[in-house]
């Protein structure tokens, strides 16, 4: 068992400002890794305005708002409010002019590590409208204008410009791609049907993917983000596992063995599909080699086995079994060996998902008759309940950086989709439309 610390150090001048990014595992699934370590020091960042440079009044403010929310959600930066520190944020241009130098000096004195600003404008011709955005980054540690970005695109991609700039900031300071451009697939009710949708990670820009008028359930992303794999009903009678290609909408059935075929999960390398099927009687786990099409049965017992989730190294699976009575989490090797029970607290533990860094398994735990989110370490030594209160929480799914979970909850009445920090802080509701939104699945990072 080895663990290697990845410390991303931002070196500026003589000042070494260390931002501990996290620890990456090097193989073993039982390594403890904290997505957000107790000693993690967020990097203080202030946004000194995205100023209008020829365009509608809302433009700069819109980009600034999206950018600030992204920065805050990154959990890499500590978003500071510059005016409350006495730092005024006039248009400070794009250079190291005299005016901007005063602002930089103020920021450095107030302990603001990173200062971000920019401008945005809209050019309209008879044929098209084009938004231009520039963003700049000053680092007070090195007293240096680090650099910037220039984006252009149609007014419909204004939010994406802010998302991409936010991810550039995260990438610059951590080497990670950021999550602001990730997507969330989910199920939304339409009449009595449930159809697949995909939205941006912040809940905006929802798009419908299926329209067959019946049930499409529990989508999961392929590792390359190009496909969703999910449970569907052919002729309303048999549960099959289908795939859909996002770019084309092409959809086809990949598993139709008869009986219940549910909870598909592609291995991190895409070479195997783990799923539950009842075609031999009761619900058992199987593993399909996606290249040879060979199917291997992983579990053999008269109880229900379902909901496999891969460890990030692809060597182990966590799954649900009610072989002891109620549903509990179990672990096994990905070829079915070495089965052992993971959860012992409570009489209902289900819907496990292994975190991208390997250190936690999130799941639904029943406590005081409510279905809430819990996390447990793969060795069972550490367990925490993340959500409390009324409502049924379901279908947790990790952000690719392991710092957040998305899940569904009936806490506000109807089922909607929420985001929560991996440490249980800062719940944010993402969906507000419709009668029922559920089964969120967070895409891999792009």
């Amino acid at each position: 068992m080895t663990q290697v610390k990845l410390i991303s150090a931002w070196l500026g001048g003589v000042l070494l400002l260390a931002g501990v990014v996290g620890i990456l595992e090097s193989g073993a699934a039982d390594v403890f890794l904290e997505a957000t370590r107790p000693d993690f020091q967020k990097i203080s960042l202030g946004v000194a305005g995205i100023h209008n440079a020829g365009g509608p009044d809302w433009l700069g403010g819109r980009i600034e708002e999206v950018l600030k929310r992204d920065v805050k959600r990154s959990l890499v930066f500590d978003l500071v409010d510059l005016p409350s520190l006495g730092i005024q944020t006039p248009d400070i241009g794009n250079g190291m002019g005299a005016g901007s130098k005063a602002v930089f000096k103020q920021a450095a004195e107030k302990g603001v590590s990173v200062l971000v600003w920019g401008k945005a404008g809209l050019k309209e011709t008879d044929k098209e409208a084009d938004v231009n955005m520039e963003g700049f980054v000053y680092d007070s540690g090195s007293d240096e204008l680090v650099g910037g970005k220039r984006y252009a695109g149609s007014p419909s991609v204004v939010r994406l410009m802010a998302h991409r700039f936010a991810d550039e900031l995260v990438f610059r300071y951590t080497g990670e791609p950021g999550i602001a451009r990730t997507k969330i697939a989910y199920v939304a009710e339409q009449g009595t049907a449930r159809e697949l949708f995909v939205m941006d990670y912040d809940g905006y820009d929802a798009r419908q993917l299926t329209a067959d008028g019946f049930l499409n359930l529990m989508p999961q992303w392929s590792p390359d983000r190009r496909f969703l794999i999910f449970t569907a009903y052919r002729n309303r009678n048999t549960q099959d596992i289908d795939m859909i290609e996002l770019a084309t909408g092409k959809r086809w059935t990949v598993i139709s063995l008869g009986g219940l075929n549910i909870t598909p999960a592609l291995s991190p390398d895409g070479n195997f599909l783990a799923f539950a099927s009842s075609h031999e009687g009761n619900s058992e786990l199987y593993r399909l080699d996606t290249r040879t099409k060979a199917i291997q049965r992983l579990t053999v017992n008269p109880s229900g086995d379902l909901s496999p989730s891969w460890s990030p190294n692809g060597r182990e699976l966590v799954f649900v079994s009610d072989r002891g009575g109620g549903p509990q989490l179990f672990l096994m090797g990905s070829e079915g060996s070495n089965v052992r029970r993971l959860t012992f607290e409570g009489d209902y533990n289900a819907a496990p998902v292994w975190s991208p860094r390997g250190n936690w398994i999130a799941y639904v735990c029943r406590t005081h008759k409510e279905y809430k989110l819990c996390v447990i370490s793969p060795d069972g030594q550490k367990r925490r309940q993340l959500t409390t209160g009324p409502g049924v929480d379901d279908s947790p799914s990790w952000s690719p950086d392991g710092r957040h979970l998305v899940f569904s909850s009936t806490a506000d009445g109807k089922s909607h989709i929420y985001m929560i920090d991996a440490d249980g802080k800062d719940i944010e509701r993402l969906t507000f439309q419709g009668t029922h939104n559920s089964a969120p699945s967070w895409s891999p990072a792009s």
Binding site: L6, R164, K293, A351, V364, V392, S446
Partner: protein, 218 residues
């Protein structure tokens, strides 16, 4: 990948400035996310399954690294921002692919209800199934589907398994009463097709059911 990042991390600790960061990630960082776009169904059409019940599989394992991120630049050149992940347009009103229901409710068939977390058929509910068996015997050509349903509590996935257990428990009891097994099929809808949407036990009770429907003549 881990190894690459680990090396990168050590290099950073040693003081290499982050300007070089893109080089630390996988090569695909530079090539952008579009390079895979044309590979599509590289592994063939949808009908070449080597085993019945298994369809074609595309190659899905290629991860795209940090995609379109190119790093901050002191003299940034303009980048066009497209619409992000390409998503096909779906017309929700189109009737293509709409599923027709081949089964209908039948007044002579009664629902059978279950206790919380349970798929056991109680003495009281056996009465309903006894009547259903009689109906099926007097309608000897009817094909019946038993739908297993659950209340909203618990996870979607486990409720699908629970719903199947309920449907099978009802089917097995009907078979015990002499109904031909070949006339009975089962399906589980879990908690996905509730008949009642309130958050109350009176409603949950109605949703924990085996619902029997008859195949239409179509």
């Amino acid at each position: 990948m881990n190894q690459t990042l680990c090396t990168c991390g050590v290099a950073l600790v040693m003081g290499v400035a982050l300007i070089g960061m893109p080089g630390c990630s996988k090569k695909s960082v530079q090539s952008g996310g579009d390079s895979q776009g044309t590979q599509g169904m590289a592994k063939g059409g949808s009908s070449d399954s080597s085993r019945s019940g298994v369809g074609s599989f595309p190659d899905t394992g290629v991860q795209s690294g940090s995609g379109e991120l190119r790093g901050l630049d002191k003299n940034p050149s303009e980048e066009r921002v497209g619409s992000g992940t390409m998503l096909a347009k779906v017309d929700p009103s189109s009737s293509a692919g709409r599923q027709m229901d081949e089964f209908r409710a039948e007044a002579g068939l009664r629902d059978v209800f279950f206790a919380y977390d349970s798929w056991t058929i109680s003495e009281e509910e056996r009465q309903a199934l006894n009547r259903n068996a009689e109906w099926m015997k007097s309608n000897s050509s009817a094909l019946v589907k038993v739908e297993g349903h659950c209340d909203e509590r618990g996870t979607s996935a486990y409720n699908l398994v629970l719903g199947e257990k309920r449907a099978k428990a009802a089917r097995n009891y009907l078979v015990e009463l002499g109904v031909g097994a070949n006339r009975l099929s089962v399906v589980s809808y879990g908690k996905e097709r509730p008949s009642c949407n309130e958050h109350a036990e009176s409603c949950y009770q109605q949703n924990r059911r085996g619902h029997l429907v008859v195949k239409t003549g179509r």
